[in-house]
Amino acid sequence: MKVGFVGHPPNDIIEKYRSEELIDLDNDLGQVEEKSDLYLPKISCSVIKRVFNNSLAFRPQKIIFDVGEGKCDSGRFLSWILKDLFNIDIIETRNQNRKGSGTIICDSRLPLREKFDLILNNIIDNKDYELEREPHPSAGFWSVPCWDTRIFDLFPEGTRIFGWTRCFENGTPDDLEIECYVEKDIPTVFYAQTFCSKNLLAKNLARVYRGLYVDCDGRLTTSVKAQIEAFLYLRGTSG
């Protein structure tokens, strides 16, 4: 049975379906038909559109949908749309876990792309990692998982991950304290998908920590790419 999930549902619910074919509907699952333009407003964030498109394209028998503060209101409403308007069997969850499992991947020396791959796959392919910690990261990246993963290649190895992705690895997706945790001496890029309410945090954290705030609607634009490259160069970070 195909079981989709959205956000970071509680581990005990995921465990119930561990033997099934789990699909992370937030992720890039290859090219699928884009029906979101027909049903969702243009000002929906790219990740919400992706969840919608993936859900209709893969038609899982069930979707475990985290609709709590660890996801977002758009996610909660999308869950209702998929359940009531598209007759998909939805299991709604609210992950309020506070027993953190650590952030060994976020803090490791790995390249950013590899870090994101390990973190996002860790629900499906659950493993404990032993990774060397990067003691002096030359850059930080505060973000949710990005729609366009080419952004990862702009950062040096060992870039420290902050924001919701850090909460995700820790298994505490609605922990605002961890989401706002940033190390002040690390030049950090604060990134949010356009139309995501996390832009409020990103802009203000960037102001407080002298970082770079950028938002992007789907594809990485030339100007966002150039701003990140220039910020890292001008703050003395080697790429």
């Binding site: 634009t221 150039a226 220039a230 160069y233 001008l234």
Partner: protein
């Protein structure tokens, strides 16, 4: 001879022994700069430099202050760098919402045969965040009033205010780009504006060359 070029969307600024400003569409295909930034610069140069880095280095070369905001208003975008105590603080590049504002001014001046330098800044402008939307506002105004000069002045004021807001309502800004030659635009920005001309990015490229490529 080392060739430096800032290939803008509509105008290219080139130093190759002589100093040139030419329409980008008329730049000979055989010109390959040693150091270049801008439109298609990856294909037209041996060393491509990020425009914000060129702007930043140009600012450090030309501005003798530790605190400065340098804004480049191009044909189709707005870019800035902010320095405090001689250290880089912030950068911004508004490519989407600043779309075609500089180019729109140039087109409208030509079409209506109006020299912006003769116009006085109006008290209020249109709320312009995009050149194309701004042009439609101008047409509406001209239909209503028949006053082409006033409509263009309001458009320029709107763009000036957009630049001012985008850069955080500064008390002072250094200005780079073709609009340094537009008195109406400069006087429409409600803060002190120091025009540095059209070769700021090229000066930045020269600095990068001197320091060793970034």
């Amino acid at each position: 001879m080392t060739v430096f070029a800032d290939f803008g969307s509509t105008w290219s600024k080139i130093i190759d022994g002589s100093v040139k400003i030419v329409k980008t569409k008329e730049v000979p295909g055989e010109i390959i700069a040693d150091f270049a930034c801008g439109h298609n610069a990856e294909k037209r140069s041996k060393r491509y430099v990020n425009e914000l880095i060129a702007l930043s280095e140009g600012g450090l070369r030309l501005i003798n202050e530790k605190d400065f905001l340098l804004v480049d208003v191009g044909s189709r975008d707005i870019k800035y760098v902010l320095y405090r105590d001689g250290r880089f603080v912030e950068t911004g590049w508004n490519q989407e919402c600043g779309a075609s504002q500089g180019f729109a001014i140039e087109l409208l001046e030509m079409y209506y045969n109006i020299d912006c330098n003769r116009l006085e800044p109006p008290e209020n402008g249109y709320p312009v965040t995009c050149g194309l939307i701004g042009i439609s506002r101008i047409f509406d105004e001209i239909i209503k009033t028949g006053d082409e000069e006033n409509a263009l002045a309001k458009f320029v004021k709107g763009i000036a205010m957009n630049v001012y807001h985008f850069t955080g309502k500064p008390e002072k800004m250094y200005l780079s780009g073709g609009l340094c030659e537009n008195r109406l635009f400069i006087e429409s920005i409600p803060c002190e504006v120091v025009p540095l001309g059209r070769f700021v990015l090229v000066e930045g490229l020269k600095e990068i060359y001197k320091k060793g490529f970034c």
